[in-house]
Amino acid sequence: MPKLRPWPRSLLGQMLLALATGLLVAQSISAVLLYQASESRREQTLLNAAAFRLLGNPQADRNPNGRRGENAAENTMRRSDGGRRAEHRGRRAGMAGELIQGLPLNLRLEQTEVSPLLAGEVRKPGREAALREILESQGIAAEDVIVVTRSFAADPITHNRERLRQRVAQTLGPDTQLMVAAAKLPQRDGWSVARVAEPPRQRGSVRMIVGQTLLIFLFLFTLQFLLLRRITRPLQILTGRTERFARTQDPSAPLRAEGPQDIRRLITAHNAMEARIGALLDEKDVMLGAIGHDLKTPLAALRVRIESVEDDHERGRMAASIEDITRSLDDILSLARVGRVGERPERAELSSLTASVVEEFEDMDQPVTLTESSRMVHPVHVTWLRRALRNLISNAVRYGKSAEVSLTQSGTDIILRVEDNGPGIPADRIEAMLEPFTRGEASRNRDTGGAGLGLTLARAIAEQHGGELVLANRPEGGLRAEIRLPLG
């Protein structure tokens, strides 16, 4: 995996992020719902227990299938040996409700004339309504219902019962809350008051919900990651392949179609496209070769025929015209071929290359000088680079009467510079000069020749080398043309 950024940019990263976020939200909602459900269940249990107590007949409660004896014995025992057994039982049962059941009867259901509401206590209307509903479902219409929550220690029943308080504090925790539910029931006088200890929230349950959520999240996330990688890996390979193809136009060894169906189809389509482009390029090469052959043969014939022209001057002009056509033809064919597959750059020493091009011009007695150069070895397409340099120098000689050539290194660029003392190019025409078939003003008199492809070809060659052609007017006059080749 590439290094993690705060915001993923890859398809895999973004899809994973989107899925993970969605999953997390969904799971959070489900966790909250789970929690709420468990809360409402707890509430329901509490209220049911209270209703059960309220409705419980003290007589019936006192005799539930022989449990009375146990209770009686328990009561006796508590009195005799400090309630150790009850304590034990409470701890063993662990449930607050059962402990409450183990309390003296008057704690479970108390009949009183006074409202159990203590000063400063707030009634719980929600619970009161729910309790009333439960009672009504049992066919009992309570005249009034009060539900409050108070701490065990604050409840009047614990007054003067230090040991009870301690016991509850030990088993249920020091701040056990007691729900006190009171109702004025028909056929009973005053308030029936039931007490139910609110079971402490199971601390584990929240943790369990969070844990479960995380576990499921991790599992699903891993699954998604594996699945998405299976989808995106062929895509990555395809991207690499496309980049390579853009560079080399080499359709050989097509990609194997793999991954999900859509991607397979994409790869198959890409392979077909590569093959088509390759075929088109091959066709183009064959066609250009044929054009070259078909035009050069009659040119050659013409060149032979003009030898019979008696007038030397006339023959010379004819030969020059033929040479002109040949050069244009070569330029056009070259421009179409530059950068095609098959040629690998070779390490060449550039100062000797530059010198040898300059010497060609010296041999033709042209005012071309090499001002500065030092030994530099760089992988280049020798024939092409010579050609680009030759084009720049002949332009300089043609329009600027002389050329100064230098080979230098500046930063990470190798710079092949050709400068002349001519009129330069108007700034707004510089871009246009690089377009095919554009010529400078001075060539109106037609003695210069060429198809106007010199600079276009030089630029194409510079780009073939990963570099660029830069044209600029020199402040002291004349044009400066630079081929900049990156060293890297």
């Binding site: 070769g289 070259g292 052959h293 050069k296 043969t297 009659p298 040119l299 050659a300 014939a301 013409l302 060149r303 032979v304 025929r305 030898e307 019979s308 030969a319 033929i322 040949t326 070569d330 070779e346 390490r347 060449a348 020493e349 000797s352 290359l353 010198a355 040898s356 091009v357 010497e359 060609e360 041999d363 033709m364 070895v377 020798v382 024939t383 010579r386």
Partner: protein, 244 residues
Amino acid sequence: MIEDTPTRLLLVDDETILREPLAEYLTRQGFAVQEAESAAAARAVLIEFTPDLVLLDIMMPGEDGLSLCRHLIETRDLPVILLTAKSEPTDRIIGLEIGADDYVIKPFEPRELVARIRSVLRRAQRAPVPTEETALYRFDGWTLDPLKRKLIDSDGAMIAISTAEFRLLRAFLDHPRQVLDRDRLLDMVQGREAHMFDRAVDNQVSRLRRKIEEDSRNPEIIQTVRGGGYRLAADVRRSAAETR
């Protein structure tokens, strides 16, 4: 060359528009020219006619020029000059590899073609073609590939040299440690392109020195010999060309 028996040429080219005027021109130049419009026709002509040199177009329908060229060199040992419309260096190398003596690119200057014909015939008469025509020259850390005309330095980088410099260097390498005077060098270097005929040898030597000498003002490889000449002061080894 004996004047009264004209040099016999076989011109093989499928393009009538070129073949006919070229044959006429060469005839006017004093050659006896036989024409053939295809490789098959050429094979037929060769049964009764033995030319001194064959001018051969590469791109022809049917059997192409390279194939015929191979046949001519293997079975008849005839000098061959290839005529080609392509200027790709690979074509030139393939042509020279299978043993053609020279090549010209269409459209060519007819006078240049004549000069090359004479030059090839001169070489053919003077000495048998060296068997090691394609073997690499190695000297003082340098490598010269005579086929690809490439000069490689000790780092493996290519050094650009002109045709004239290549010929000059090769002349030195073929005669290591011998003193070669200017006339001899000029004779050996005299090339096929007209404008090089009068090139001053000294000028070429100094250009060559700039490329291969550590310090071209104190040359160590190509030394000046008092009394007018130069000498290659290095040992030369030949080894088979790497296949690339």
